[in-house]
């Protein structure tokens, strides 16, 4: 098991390094530079000074090496668009916000989705099934910004139940989370439904029936456990995504999260932020895959025993 983990960590680092390098050169290849996107009219001397201060006048390779050196000391650099802010601090301040919304949305989407999927599967081709499938379809096809705009108008203007925008109280969480959980909910409902249907047709369910096991226990112990396993794989990769946030939802509800920050940074050509955030996102993603693999190995006896042998 230890060897398994170690090997995976090594792969993880290699991938991370490749991603960092690729992002670095890609970001610097976009036309425009941070200073022009911020200030329209700039005398040449000031621009040169600015470029010098941040090292942009150096050849790209030199900048790259310096960047890697900085990275190894844990310094992700300073934002250009927002002088004085360290990328690490930006992550520390904004990531939890995105994380909370994303995390709660994922949890709700997961839990409710799984439940709906089971209900749909157990009532195959009857009205609960059809209802859940329609909802899932809507959830997948309606664009987030449409849904968010509608929810925002209905629940903050027509029937003012929640604050329109902003962040800070539990009330501010409701609408953004509602918007964000629709996607995962739809996915998990459909996935779980097909998983349950698949398991239900398996022979060991028949065996359980033949043993006189109550249908409740068949669902809870036999069907659920086996159809749930594939969903864990899905959720692991989603977990990484919660910190990158949703640009659309954060813009519409004016939430100070990482998603909006990241996209804005690209528009502003804020190189250090783009790079820094990309590293964080990639790292989190890879880490979550690793955790997922380990988790699956623990939970699914077939994988665990295969690995042990």
């Amino acid at each position: 098991m230890a060897k398994f983990i170690l090997k995976r960590i090594l792969y993880m680092l290699v991938v991370l390094f490749c991603v960092i390098t690729l992002t670095f050169f890609l970001v610097h290849s976009i036309p425009g530079d941070p200073i022009t996107s911020m200030v329209q009219d700039l005398p040449i001397e000031t621009r040169d000074l600015y470029l010098q201060k941040y090292g942009f006048d150096q050849p790209l390779i030199v900048q790259y090496v310096k960047f890697i050196q900085q990275l190894l000391t844990g310094d992700l650099g300073q934002s250009l668009r927002y002088p004085g802010r360290q990328v690490v601090d930006i992550v520390a301040n904004y990531a939890p916000v995105s994380g909370i919304i994303g995390g709660i949305a994922l949890a709700i989407g997961f839990a409710v989705g799984i439940l709906l999927g089971i209900i749909a599967a157990l009532n195959r081709n009857r009205w609960p099934d059809r209802l859940v499938m329609v909802l899932a379809l809507l959830g997948t096809t309606i664009p987030t910004f449409v849904f968010a705009a509608v929810l925002q108008y209905v629940f903050t203007v027509t029937v003012p139940l929640f604050p329109t925008t902003g962040w800070g109280t539990w009330g501010h969480l409701v609408l953004p989370v509602a918007c964000m959980c629709v996607g995962p909910l739809a996915s998990y409902a459909r996935y779980m439904r097909s998983s349950v249907l698949d398991i239900t047709n398996q022979d060991f369910i028949l065996t359980a029936e033949a043993k006189g096991v109550s249908s409740f226990r068949i669902v809870s112990r036999h069907i659920f456990r086996n159809s749930f396993l594939p969903c864990i794989t899905m959720i692991c990769t989603s977990i990484a995504g919660i910190f990158s946030g949703s640009f659309i939802i954060e813009s519409i509800f004016a939430i100070p999260g990482l998603g909006k920050y990241f996209i804005s940074a690209i528009n502003d050509r804020d190189y250090s932020v783009v790079l820094g955030l990309n590293i964080i996102f990639t790292g989190t993603y890879i880490l979550s895959i690793l955790v997922c693999d380990i988790l699956l190995a623990i939970i699914d006896p077939r994988i665990r025993i295969a690995e042990e042998n």
Binding site: R81, P83, G84, T169, I252
Partner: protein, 556 residues
């Protein structure tokens, strides 16, 4: 065992999530979300509410609230709330603020300011040295201050900022703590109306270093308001500074500035009262708000000109007649109507109607140059053909293809630029290709001279000097229009203290710019602001920098 482990893991996750929730939900400032705190509202004898507060919209997150490193106009406007500049503009006139009075030497090179008694919020006095500290930090090459050119008339400012001179040579001194002397390298009649001199605390700057101005706690205020809290990308809260010398003129105790990026969210916030006022341009909403009894409307001029700039170094647009033809071919009424729903005014000149030359209004005294040109030219197409022939491109406009670059990639952008395309193609018979880029790329292309025609807009300051001087740079501004006469006119004007004479010089400069069609002005931008009727005293003067002076709510 496995089961217990997984249960434990799940429990831990939930606890962490919950704790994280609580922490992130907590804010340094408790009244963060009490936009409507202290619900009990009474009225004083003069009809004003006892509880005076405002919820306003802020267009973007401030980059950094440090006078030596700030990037944009959002930051600058914030300084007028929390710091005290030497002068402000009130009711369209320059008035003393941090400075009670000032003397200008006869040659216009020395300004002596006599400071008013004012204090920082930690009790320390605002001294002349503080204003000098700001200038010193602004010209420090290490800070890479983006707005160096705004201060280029101060002796040695530019030289110091490019590292060629030592900071000790700066033309600013403080003979005593209440007197500030600025030395200029050339007379600049627009100095006080167009340049902002804010004070800065050297000890605070040193204490916080790079993080100065990144948090509410990392800065010091001395203006009508203090920055009480700053939740990045979310909101800023200003509270009234009772120690301010003019505190009596300010009724609003607390201003909550909400940063709302999405336009629908902004409109929804205005509609349900989360915002007290807002600029609205969407036609459906304009109608909706106009129909409401509890809202009023005011037009605000933006003092900004939307224009098409021509690249005078381009093979096609190096010819004046070609440029003039393209400028005259535009139906400015149609463009203003379609793109801005009639809020903008068609422009046949560069300088917007808000600009003043001293006490004289520029536009009232100077005829719009393009109107005169339009009278002289019957048919822009014929003019184009003449220009083409001069360039040796034949006489058939249908064989001419040119590019028009637009600095946005939204669906709206396409519609608007297509209107330009249509107008040109119909009037001139040539082919216009459209190019779209995001604003950063667009700016970069324009600055590099990588365009033929580009859409652009420039804001103006109090005096026409700022706007006109965009084309008096070495390369000829974004149009790359090198005209020595123009440069000398603008420079001379900026040093002429006689208002009438100055007006004439600016007028001549503008005429050159428009006649030779370095740019084609399109319209003067304006906006429509809707505000709840309980808000009184909102300022419609374009250049005023009086913060929330005179604003109060009554009957909220």
């Amino acid at each position: 065992m496995k089961r217990k482990l997984s249960l434990l893991l799940a429990l831990m996750m939930m606890v962490t999530l919950f704790a994280g929730c609580n922490k992130a939900l907590q804010n340094p400032d408790e009244n963060m979300n009490n936009n409507n705190d202290n619900k009990e509202q009474g009225q004083t004898s003069d009809g004003k509410d006892t509880n005076q507060y405002l919820n306003v919209y802020l267009s973007a997150e401030p980059s950094v609230l440090d006078v030596a490193r700030f990037v944009g106009v959002v930051d600058r406007n914030m300084f007028f709330n929390v710091l005290e500049p030497l002068t402000r503009i009130e009711n369209g006139e320059v008035v003393g603020a941090g400075a009670e009075s000032w003397d200008i030497s006869d040659d216009g090179l020395t300004y002596t300011f006599h400071l008013r008694e004012n204090y920082w919020t930690d009790g320390q006095k605002v001294t002349a040295q503080d204003y000098i500290t700001a200038l010193q930090r602004q010209c420090d090459p290490n800070n890479a201050f983006p707005h160096v050119s705004d201060y280029n008339t101060i002796e040695n400012f530019v030289a110091i900022s490019s590292g060629e001179a030592d900071v000790s040579t700066l033309g600013a001194s403080a003979p005593d703590e209440n007197t500030l002397v600025l030395k200029l390298n050339a007379p600049n009649v627009a100095l006080l109306s167009s340049t902002d001199f804010f004070p800065d605390r050297a000890d605070i700057a040193e204490k916080y270093g790079d993080t100065l101005g990144t948090e509410a706690s990392n800065m010091m205020c001395c203006g009508p308001y203090t920055l009480e809290s700053w939740t990045h990308n979310s909101q800023l809260v200003l509270t009234k500074n009772d120690k301010y010398w003019d505190a009596d003129s300010f009724d609003i105790q607390k201003v909550t500035m909400l940063i709302i990026p999405d336009s629908n969210a902004q409109l929804a916030s205005l509609e349900n009262g989360s915002l007290d006022y807002l600029g609205v341009s969407t036609p459906e909403y304009v109608e909706k708000f106009q129909a409401r009894d509890d809202m009023d409307e005011m037009m605000l001029s933006s003092a900004r000109t939307s224009m098409v700039i021509f690249n005078c170094e381009d093979s096609v647009f190096s010819n004046e007649k070609v440029r003039q033809a393209f400028s005259l071919a535009l139906d400015r009424d149609a463009l203003a109507e379609v793109i801005t729903n009639g809020t903008a005014t068609p422009a046949y000149s560069l300088v917007p109607p808000d600009c003043q030359v001293g006490n004289l209004n520029f536009r009232e005294n100077v005829e719009e140059p393009l109107t005169a040109l339009a009278k002289e030219v019957d048919d822009p197409k014929a003019l184009l053909i003449e220009g083409m022939q001069e360039l040796g491109l034949g006489d058939d406009p249908s064989k001419l293809t040119v590019k028009f670059a637009w600095g946005a990639t939204t669906a709206q952008a396409r519609t608007y630029s297509e209107l330009y395309q249509q107008l040109w193609q119909e009037a001139l018979g040539c082919t216009v290709e459209l190019e779209f880029n995001d604003s950063a790329t667009h700016q970069s292309n324009v600055n590099a001279g990588n365009f033929q025609m580009a859409s652009m807009s420039w804001g103006a300051n109090y005096e026409p000097q700022f706007q006109l001087s965009r084309w008096s740079t070495e390369v000829g501004g974004q149009s790359r229009w090198k005209n020595a006469d123009y440069v000398s006119l603008v420079t001379e004007a900026s040093q002429t203290s006689d208002e009438q004479k100055r007006l004439e010089l600016y007028g001549q400069a503008e005429e050159l710019l428009i006649r030779e069609a370095a740019i084609a002005p399109v319209y003067f931008m304006a906006s429509r602001r809707f505000y709840y009727s309980y808000v009184n005293g909102l300022n419609a003067n374009t250049f005023d920098t009086t913060s929330f002076k005179g604003v109060y709510t009554s009957g909220r």
